[in-house]
Structure formats: structure tokens, C-alpha cells
């Protein structure tokens, strides 16, 4: 269970997200006589309240969450690492200012700022990515800065400085490679965060718009029909939970393997 469970689940997630559209799915096709039909029969996961096949919509939902997670983590990891590394390395008033800005962003509880941003920017996947990126860079910046602070007085950095190596090169060649391990672990957990956040925003109606599918919006629609069609809320929830569980498991394993200490400590 150590590696195969997370890698299998995540592999399936990626495969369905990337190649799902080749399966000839009909996520928006409506079968009026199949409304709320439970699993079994023509569609193995049943139909939703409009008579659309739930399996097909799950696959499209995988696409939604995968695209958002990859985009958000790519943007925030790059931006946050850059800001944190440069800030920690340069020190002085720049570092001071960056720390202040990080403190301010950390003052917003959990998803709240993302909810407000997505609400103000208006619904749609692009705005979800923007809102989650605005909130997400802080974690990477804080981690990268802390790591660089503990590294920048090491001998090899001093030697490079003495040899006249440029600052950009020191950051790129002598600092970033050494802080990669904790950043990868942070990145893994960030994927879990982004998947939950996207589904959460879509659950609130701030993410994907109908008829597009997201696991979050499927759970919201399903919650209204729980009395008659519990499969509508169970199917997307189980898939969402499996993916998040797999990412968290992978993060734990990576942390042990790469020997990174906990990511707490402010």
C-alpha cells in the first residue's frame, strides 16, 4: 500500500483527465426517460437529475480538477519559490516587505479570500485559477524563504560569492537545487489543496458553470436529490476523496523518503 495505491489512483486520474475526451463520452447528453436512474443498466453509475450519465460527467470532472490543480500548483510553486528565494537571499528591506505581505495574506482564514475573490471576479474556471493562485503562492514563498535563510551562509554559497558568481546564478544553481525536496513535498500537498478548493468553489457555484462538470458541482446537485437518488452525491464524493487521499498519501511517503521535516513552524 505504500506506493502503489497513491500512484495507481493518481495515474488513473491523470489518464482520464488527459485522454478522457477520446472515450466518446456524452456528458451533456440528456435521456429524459432515465432521470435519476440508479446505477446499473444502461449507464453503470446511473443518471443525474437531468438524465445525464454520471460516469461521463465524472470523467469530465476529472479533467476540470486536474487542469485547475496543475495550473494552480505550477503558477504558485514558480511564483512563490521565486519570491521566497530572492527575498531570503537578498535580505534587507526587500525581505522585510515580503515578510509583511506574506503575513497579511496569511491573515485570511482558509478558503475565505479565494471565495471572496472568485465571487467578485465572477464565475468560471479561469477565475478559479486566479483566485487560488493569489492565495496559494504564500505557502511556497514562506517555505522557500525559510530554507534559503538557513542555507545562504553555507560555505559553498560563500565560495561562489567569493568567486564572483552572479546573484541570479547563485540562486538558480546553488540555492534552489538544495531546497527542492521540501518544495516537492509542499507541492504535493498543494495539489490536494487545489483539488479540494476547486471542488469547494464549484460546490458554492463559484467555479465551473453549467453544463460543464466538476466534482464539486456534481456534489451540490446531488445533495438536492439525496432522498431519491443518493448515488448522485456518493459517486463524485468517493472519487474526490480517493484522489485527495492518494495525493496526501503520496505527500506523506515523499516526506518520509526525502527526509523533510514537518512543514509547520512559522
Amino acid at each position: 500500500m505504500r506506493w502503489w495505491l497513491p500512484t495507481t489512483v493518481l495515474g488513473l486520474w491523470a489518464v482520464f483527465a488527459l485522454f478522457g475526451s477520446m472515450l466518446g463520452l456524452a456528458p451533456n447528453h440528456i435521456e429524459l426517460d432515465q432521470i435519476l436512474t440508479p446505477p446499473g443498466g444502461a449507464a453503470w453509475l446511473g443518471y443525474d437529475d437531468l438524465g445525464r450519465p454520471i460516469w461521463d460527467r465524472l470523467v469530465i470532472g476529472a479533467q476540470t480538477s486536474f487542469v485547475v490543480a496543475v495550473a494552480v500548483v505550477a503558477v504558485t510553486a514558480l511564483l512563490g519559490t521565486l519570491i521566497g528565494t530572492v527575498s531570503g537571499y537578498l535580505g534587507g528591506w526587500i525581505d522585510h516587505a515580503v515578510v509583511r505581505v506574506i503575513d497579511i495574506f496569511l491573515a485570511f482564514p482558509g478558503l475565505l479570500l479565494a471565495i471572496a475573490l472568485a465571487g467578485v471576479l465572477g464565475p468560471g474556471l479561469n477565475n478559479v485559477v486566479i483566485a487560488l493562485s493569489v492565495v496559494g503562492w504564500v505557502g511556497f514563498a514562506r517555505l522557500a524563504r525559510a530554507q534559503v535563510l538557513s542555507l545562504k551562509h553555507r560555505d559553498h554559497v560563500q565560495a561562489a560569492t567569493a568567486l564572483g558568481v552572479g546573484r541570479a546564478r547563485i540562486v538558480w544553481r546553488h540555492l534552489i537545487p538544495l531546497i527542492l525536496a521540501p518544495l516537492i513535498v509542499e507541492g504535493t500537498f498543494a495539489v490536494a489543496g487545489a483539488v479540494i478548493a476547486e471542488a469547494g468553489l464549484s460546490f458554492l457555484g463559484l467555479g465551473v458553470q453549467p453544463p460543464a462538470a466538476s466534482w464539486g458541482s456534481m456534489i451540490r446537485d446531488g445533495a438536492r436529490y439525496m432522498l431519491v437518488a443518493p448515488h448522485m452525491v456518493l459517486a463524485p464524493g468517493v472519487v474526490l476523496m480517493l484522489v485527495v487521499l492518494a495525493v496526501n498519501l503520496l505527500g506523506d511517503r515523499l516526506r518520509d523518503k526525502l527526509d523533510v521535516r514537518g512543514r509547520e513552524r512559522r
Binding site: 491573515a107 485570511f108 475565505l112 471565495i115
Partner: protein, 309 residues
């Protein structure tokens, strides 16, 4: 010692100021013309002009901000565009429900997390430990907007034990509190385990055992007490996750709190109300965190004398 407290308070004030700036700018992030977005395209030009003036959007940004800030200091949060009522009243109506939910969730989290964390630490590397940590992993991986509906399905729809939603009966709080508290319980139990393991390796624990104290007494009276302090600070930080999660939990259970008010305001494009809610929840979070830090420093001199916050 006074310098630590002073610097901690100053930095909290600065953060509060920054939060206010960001929340103020939120309204200016609305794509296009905020007035048009709020009133809809069919609005009369005169109405638009009136709203523009009421919100002060016709004046320079800096003037607007100073005005906003000054009114905030006087406790004036503005008027809701949707209901035309003072936002302060709206918030005061909803605040008790959110506070109640957050506190109940906190209780749920602590009640689950401590036994689980202690069990895992005391029986480290045994099946007990693995099961406890697996439960915790499931807890973090279960989004509250899914856990909520599943709990409703089981306890309200199938078993019929508890109300589906609302805040009308005393038992109404149970499912929302469990929904919101589970993720925190999961995180907290890992922290209790880690903190306790660290303390269990220390000399005073060995001394306590050497004195012949019962294992129960060693754990609960000696080790856990010392492990508790760092856990409490982290609990303060985790409160933010709780407050953010409360927004979604309130929607799942139609719990009439600040989170529901925020989402309603987003749906009706009542942006001044959105601003006020976000500001208030964040300010509350900053205050709680500052307070936790100060109490921690007061209890444990190492914090204010050593590396410091």
C-alpha cells in the same frame, strides 16, 4: 518582556491594516464597472450615478480609502445594497450562529483528536498507531462539502435521528459541528501524537517512570501537560481553517451564519456586505492568533526570551 508584547501587538496592527487595504481593493477588482455589475445592465443612468456616489466610486482611490478607513474606525460598515439595512445589523444577527458552530466544531475536534493522538503516540509503530493515523488521513482527505451530505444521508435521511438542516432544534448543531470539526480533528491528532512523542523522550518522563508512577499518570499528568503548549498555539492557527470551512459547512446545512451571509451577498452582488464579512472574519482570526501568541509567551518564558515569535 514588554518589548515582546509590544512588538507582537504592533505587527498585529500592521497586519490588520494590510487586511483592510486588501479588502478595500476587493471592490475594485470587479471586472468592468462595479456599479453596472451590481445594478445590472438595465439600470437607469440616474440610479447608477446615485450608487456611484453612495459608494464614493467617483472620487480618487486614496480619498475613497481614507473615507472607508475612517468609517470603519467609527464602526460604520456601510449599508447593504440588497436589503438597504446597515451591514452592522446584518452581521450582528448572523455572528452568534457562526461562533456557536465554530466552538462546537472545536469541541468535536479536541474530543476526537486527543484520545486518537495519545493512543497513536503511546502505542507507536503498532497497529493501534497505524489505524489511528489512517483515520486521521481519511479525515483530512474528506472535504466538508461531501462529508456533510453523507452525514445528512445517514443520520437524517436513513436513520431519521437528526434534523437535515437549519438551526431550529437543539440537536441541529450536531451534524454541522462534526462536519466542520473532522478535518481539524485529523490535523490535531497528528500534532498531539508528534508533540507527545517528543516529550516522551525527555528526562523528566524517565524520572517520573523511575519514581514508579503508573503509566497512565506519567502520560496524562506529566507528558501530555508539557506537550499541550505547542499544540495550543497550532490550534490558534488552525482556527483559520475552521473559519474558512465554516462558510461551506453553513451552506451545506443552511446554517444562518456569517458564511451563509457572505455567499448570499456574492450571489446578489452585494459587494459591500462581502467586504464586511471577509474583513470581520479575518480580523477575528488575527485577534485570536495574536492572543494565542501572547498567552503562549506568558505561559512559556522560552518563547519571549529565546528565538521569539
Amino acid at each position: 518582556m514588554p518589548t515582546f508584547f509590544l512588538s507582537r501587538l504592533l505587527s498585529a496592527l500592521f497586519v490588520l491594516f494590510g487586511v483592510t487595504c486588501l479588502v478595500f481593493l476587493l471592490l475594485h477588482l470587479v471586472p468592468g464597472d462595479p456599479v453596472e455589475v451590481m445594478l445590472g445592465e438595465s439600470a437607469q443612468p440616474a440610479d447608477r450615478e446615485a450608487l456611484r456616489q453612495a459608494l464614493g466610486l467617483d472620487r480618487p482611490l486614496l480619498v475613497q480609502f481614507l473615507d472607508y478607513f475612517e468609517r470603519l474606525l467609527r464602526g460604520d460598515l456601510g449599508v447593504s445594497l440588497h436589503s438597504q439595512r446597515p451591514i452592522v445589523d446584518l452581521i450582528l444577527e448572523r455572528f452568534p450562529a457562526t461562533l456557536e458552530l465554530a466552538l462546537a466544531a472545536l469541541v468535536v475536534a479536541v474530543v476526537i483528536a486527543f484520545p486518537l493522538g495519545v493512543l497513536a503516540a503511546v502505542r507507536k509503530d503498532t497497529p493501534w498507531d497505524y489505524s489511528a493515523m489512517s483515520v486521521s488521513l481519511f479525515g483530512v482527505s474528506m472535504p466538508n462539502f461531501w462529508l456533510g451530505p453523507v452525514l445528512i444521508l445517514i443520520f437524517s435521511v436513513w436513520l431519521g435521528w437528526l434534523p437535515v438542516s437549519g438551526r431550529d432544534e437543539p440537536t441541529s448543531i450536531i451534524l454541522p459541528a462534526i462536519t466542520l470539526g473532522t478535518a481539524l480533528a485529523a490535523v490535531l491528532s497528528r500534532m498531539v501524537r508528534a508533540a507527545l512523542l517528543e516529550v516522551l523522550g525527555e528526562d523528566f518522563v524517565r524520572t517520573a517512570r523511575a519514581k514508579g508512577l503508573s503509566e497512565r499518570r506519567v502520560i496524562w499528568r506529566h507528558a501530555l501537560r508539557n506537550a499541550l503548549l505547542p499544540v495550543v498555539t497550532i490550534l490558534g492557527l488552525q482556527l483559520g481553517v475552521l473559519l474558512g470551512g465554516a462558510v461551506i459547512t453553513e451552506i451545506v446545512f443552511s446554517w444562518p451564519g456569517l458564511g451563509q451571509l457572505t455567499i448570499e451577498a456574492i450571489q446578489t452582488r452585494d459587494y459591500p456586505v462581502v467586504q464586511a464579512c471577509v474583513l470581520l472574519i479575518s480580523v477575528g482570526y488575527v485577534l485570536v492568533n495574536t492572543l494565542t501568541d501572547l498567552v503562549y509567551a506568558w505561559l512559556d518564558p522560552r518563547v519571549r526570551l529565546g528565538e521569539g515569535g
